[in-house]
């Protein structure tokens, strides 16, 4: 099991006597290697649920488990490390540091994790290559289109080879063709790296790559359905992708085994990597 929410409530108090119940009694489990889509109208609690799964927010009630850790009351330092090594985020809007190039944005989490500089940039190049942006490495975010920025964000989210990828409406700012390309990329990542993917979306086409769809309404899980007819985008040629990602993967395994003796989280992650 990758993520588990047990009877989670989330109540926001924007001011003293206003209460917003964003989640109410949410219980759900995401298994390792799954692609799960959260669907539901705006304001139904999708982002709140993702933030709690991603340890960015804490539940008002209930328990949260991520990658085998009970994170409900874990301290901030532990959660920072967990997010750095285990979780990749693609947010709804803010995703890149404006003063850094695409390459530097992708390298940043690796530098923060203590990868050697040269290796971090080498792997960042491979990741940009994997999302089809090797020719944009030196560009700044404002020089990239929305879809390109989103792809850089995905490369950045993958930088530390997370076990879990959390995507909040990852295609809300991009055109149809880019959406298709991104969906293919998500399936490749999931298929080849075994990365668990949880995403929120309005778009049925995006949801179609999920093995399971969880419908939300007014902060509660209204329905959970195991999927669904045909999958959007190209069929994934796992062998081709595996070949393309091989270098990234080898480099990651090498780096992680180098770092494992320094960091308990990394050591455990090394065992969980496929």
């Amino acid at each position: 099991m990758a993520i588990s929410l047990v009877d989670v409530d989330k109540v926001y108090r924007p001011s003293r006597d206003v209460e917003v119940v964003a989640l109410r009694g949410v219980t759900l489990t995401v298994e390792r290697g799954e692609i799960v889509a959260l669907m539901g109208p705006s304001g139904s609690g999708k982002t709140t649920a993702l933030n709690i799964m991603g340890t960015l927010d804490r539940p008002t009630r209930g328990r949260v488990y991520v990658a085998g850790f009970d994170v409900t009351e874990a301290d901030e330092g532990f959660l920072e490390a967990l997010r750095l090594h285990y979780i990749g985020f693609v947010f709804q809007s803010i995703n890149l540091v404006p003063s850094l190039t695409a390459l530097e944005n992708v390298a940043l989490p690796m530098l923060a994790a203590g990868y050697p500089r040269y290796e971090a940039y080498r792997k960042a190049r491979l990741l940009l290559d994997a999302v089809g942006l090797s020719d944009r490495a030196g560009h700044y975010p404002h020089q990239l289109s929305g879809g390109q920025q989103q792809r850089v964000a995905i490369a950045r989210a993958l930088a530390n080879m997370p076990l879990i990828l959390i995507l909040d409406e990852p295609t809300s700012n991009v055109d149809v063709a880019t959406t298709r390309a991104l969906l293919t990329l998500f399936r490749e990542i999931n298929g080849v790296l075994g990365t668990t993917i949880v995403m929120a979306t309005h778009d049925p086409e995006v949801a179609s790559i999920a093995g399971r769809v969880i419908y939300m309404r007014g902060g509660v899980v209204s329905r959970s359905a195991v999927k669904l007819a045909e999958v959007a985008g190209e069929p994934v040629d796992v062998e081709r992708v595996r070949e393309r990602m091989r270098h990234v993967f080898e480099l990651e395994k090498e780096l992680v085994s180098d770092m494992a003796h320094r960091n308990e989280l990394v050591r455990r992650k090394a065992q969980l990597l496929p």
Partner: protein, 381 residues
């Protein structure tokens, strides 16, 4: 904690906002420059004043009385004490000269070398009734002048006619008006005669070979002449330095105001920048960059800015001290103020630049590092 990402983010942000950060550096430079310039000038003044006092008052000890009551014979006695190099008797009298305050001084003309008098014009007095005057009274050169003594412990009011045969270089130049002593120097023997005080003086200058004799000798003199005052050179210098320090206090107020303004500029710019960077920092924290790393990154930028500003300020301040001296020159203050490169002043300037910059950006830095990513990311769109 790893720092490569910290350095990367700091470096790129510095580059992205270099115009604004240059402004911050300039604000720091301005404060530092003023500090260094004024401190350098104050230091120069102290060196100058101390040097001038040593020249004006070459003796280690001065015995001084309001009355002309010290027997000249004492000179022999003191001179025979071990460690005493030279003893010079003299008379010092406050006077006025055509309405100007002056000091009438009688010195033994034979020992004129001791007083290191340097003439700008004319010659030394040879006989009674001849005098040399300080540059500030230079207009009297070649004329007769009437020195007026008011009634005092020295005796009744009277007029003394002198002929000005020479002009001596002013000590302390035009530094501060109150320091102008307007010396009128005449032969001691003649002055004693005129004042009806043959065999007596009211001041004795003593030079010793070893400075450790100064205190015991001064103590002994105090005991021997309870009605007279005993000054040591060191105590005089201390007193003069205290006057310069007073000027320093005034300077410090100016410096403090300027540094406060620098601090406000740093605070304002860093607060605006922190606000602008909230989205970026929220993202960094969301992807697992620690609050400490964020704080360190901004701190690194502040340090880089203040090192640059501080260095520029020190250079500008030292150069500015020269300009200040030139400016004083234009304003008619024409003494040769030494402008010295004082390491303590530079170090103080650098430390102040850092302290001001760090202190005034602490609040924005703490706010950024404590930022909760969700507050920003939730409002993202």
């Amino acid at each position: 904690m790893y720092v490569r990402h910290v350095v990367l983010v700091a470096g790129r942000d510095l580059r992205a906002r270099k115009g604004r950060y240059t402004l911050v550096a300039l604000a720091i430079a301005a404060g530092t420059a003023l500090l260094v310039a004024l401190s350098t000038v104050t230091f120069g003044l102290k060196v100058y004043v101390e040097g001038q006092i040593r020249e004006l008052y070459p003796a280690d000890i001065m015995l001084y009385s309001d009355r002309i009551e010290i027997p000249v014979d004492i000179v022999e006695v003191i001179g025979s004490i071990e460690g005493v190099d030279a003893v010079e008797p003299l008379i010092l009298v406050g006077a006025s000269l055509g309405g100007r305050g002056a000091t009438l001084v009688g010195i033994p003309i034979d020992d004129v070398d001791y007083f290191a008098i340097s003439l700008v014009e004319g010659r030394l007095p040879r006989s009674g009734g001849e005098a040399i005057v300080e540059e500030s009274l230079g207009d009297l050169y070649g004329d007769k002048a009437a020195v007026e003594l008011t009634e005092s412990l020295l005796g009744p009011a009277r007029r003394i006619e002198v002929e000005v045969v020479g002009v001596l270089e002013s000590l302390l130049k035009g530094f501060v008006q109150t320091f102008q002593v307007n010396l009128v120097v005449v032969p001691l023997g003649w002055l004693q005669e005129v004042l009806g005080a043959e065999g007596f003086v009211n001041a004795v200058l003593i030079t010793v070979s070893d400075k450790t004799y100064v205190e015991p000798l001064a103590d002994a003199l105090k005991e021997a002449f309870p009605s007279a005052q005993v000054y040591t050179q060191r105590s005089l210098i201390r007193a003069a330095i205290r006057i310069v320090d007073l000027l320093g206090v005034f300077f410090n107020v100016i410096i403090a105001v300027t540094l406060a303004i620098s601090g406000i500029v740093v605070f304002a710019v860093m607060t605006i920048t922190a606000r602008e960077r909230m989205r970026e920092v929220a993202l960094l924290k969301a992807i697992g960059v620690s609050g400490r790393a964020v704080a360190l990154s901004v701190l690194l930028e502040v340090l880089a800015i203040s090192v640059a500003g501080g260095a520029a300020g020190i250079a500008a301040g030292f150069y500015g001290a020269h300009m200040l001296k030139a400016l004083l020159g234009y304003m008619g203050v024409s003494f040769d103020l030494p402008i010295l490169a004082v390491p303590e002043v530079f170090v103080g300037g650098a430390a102040t630049a850092l302290a001001v910059a760090v202190a005034s950006s602490t609040l924005p830095i703490v706010r950024l590092s404590r930022l909760r990513p969700l507050e920003i990311l939730a409002r993202g769109q």
